[in-house]
């Protein structure tokens, strides 16, 4: 029996491989995966806007860039990262049991973004600290964001491993290669457009 959406979110954030297998086998879960990424993008954008434009009082045109980045980054990582993970993982690093398609990778990688939803708390931390009279240290926000980004990274490796049915080592190599390729494409685009 398949799990509910909240249960999937919870288990995916706990790096539960069975949940990623379930998502991989359920074509209808693509909508849920997309919703997870949109939630991360939306909460990131709102959080960044709050931190820069409201809490720090930075002019709107300057606060727009980090907010746009928070929205854009998960979407680009999801679509681009999944595409390159699929192309690299299903060819160079494929294992004896690798049998997948792009949609499967999209579904599992989408759920790997689940811990990123909590990032909105990080953006709100400086305001919360101010309300509680705990000073304006940026360290709690930076630490929380670093932990969450690392968490999403590890979940991404688990998602790729389950989608491509191979070893953790191959999943790490696939993730690293896909990230590098995506980085080169975006860098190439920005250089070409400059």
């Amino acid at each position: 029996m398949s799990q509910s959406f909240p249960a999937r979110l919870w288990k995916a954030s706990l790096l539960d491989a069975d949940t990623y297998e379930e998502v991989e086998a359920d074509p209808t879960s693509i909508r849920q995966a997309a919703l997870v990424v949109l939630l991360v993008a939306g909460t990131g954008g709102i959080g960044s806007w709050w931190l820069h434009a409201v809490h720090r009082g930075i002019p709107t045109d300057v606060a727009l860039l980090p907010a746009a980045l928070e929205i854009l980054e998960p979407l680009v990582l999801w679509l681009g990262g999944s595409f390159f993970s699929y192309t690299v993982g299903a060819t160079f690093f494929r294992g004896p049991e690798t049998e997948t398609d792009f949609a499967e990778v999209l579904r599992t990688v989408g759920f790997a973004f689940t811990p990123g939803i909590v990032r909105i708390v990080g953006f709100g931390l400086p305001s919360i600290q101010g309300l509680l009279g705990l000073g304006d240290s940026e360290i709690p926000r930076i630490l929380l964001n670093t932990v969450l980004e690392t968490w999403v990274l590890v979940a991404g490796i688990v998602a790729i491993r389950q989608a491509l049915d191979f070893t953790t080592g191959r999943a790490i190599a696939t993730y690293g290669s896909a990230y590098l390729l995506l980085y080169l494409v975006v860098m190439g685009l920005s250089t070409a457009l400059t």
Partner: protein, 204 residues
């Protein structure tokens, strides 16, 4: 894989990282020399004490002169690990002296604030030397964990004055460097190319 197994794996990874950290030889030449326990003297600082004799004497006597401090500061800027270890030790000693002083010493506070900025700048400039960058991170964490917080000031990302306990300046520099590199930095440059003006360097 069940969540229990996942948790065990994360636990094993943390233990493995701990073992790696514990297995490092802090006295290895050419490595950052961690701050000593109170009342102890780090053996790994012996060579640095010879090189920066005036600095160590000044720090321990509470009479650090500008020339001795500038020698170490310049060497930290140039990426010398022994100077970084010396500065870290000096920071630790001055911060403790400040914390127990009956009257705050403005010159000492100013020096510590300058060292915060020096560490942040050294981190920002160390992109081509991952070993020195890692040592700066280690020094920042070491100072943060061992030196008392004094409510120092430093510059935030907007260049404005902000409260800056201990090595917050370095942690902010680390975060800024992270924002400006990798996919996020590339996306920021792409947005700058598309819409003009704003790029990774201008992020708030």
């Amino acid at each position: 894989m069940s969540s229990g197994r996942a948790a065990r794996r994360i636990g094993l990874a943390i233990v493995a990282l701990g073992l790696v950290a514990a297995g490092r030889d802090p006295s290895k030449p050419g490595a950052y020399c961690p701050l000593p326990e109170p009342g102890e003297v780090s053996k790994c600082l012996a060579d640095a004490q010879q090189t920066y004799q005036g600095f160590f004497l000044g720090v321990e006597d509470g009479k650090l002169d500008d020339a001795a401090a500038q020698q170490v500061e310049a060497a930290v800027r140039d990426g010398h690990l022994d100077a970084l270890s010396s500065l870290s030790y000096g920071y630790f000693m001055l911060a403790h002296a400040q914390a127990v002083a009956e009257h705050p010493d403005a010159a000492r506070l100013e020096r510590l604030e300058r060292w915060n900025q020096l560490l942040a700048d050294a981190y920002a400039d160390s992109g081509s030397d991952p070993r020195y960058r890692a040592a700066l991170r280690e020094a920042a964490i070491d100072i943060n964990a061992n030196a008392p917080a004094l409510g120092l000031r430093c510059k935030n990302e907007q260049g404005a004055e902000a409260r800056c306990d201990s090595t917050e300046a370095v942690v902010r520099a680390i975060d800024l460097a992270r924002q400006q590199t990798g996919l996020r930095g590339a996306l920021s440059r792409l947005l700058g190319s598309l819409f003009g003006g704003t790029g990774a360097e201008e992020q708030p």
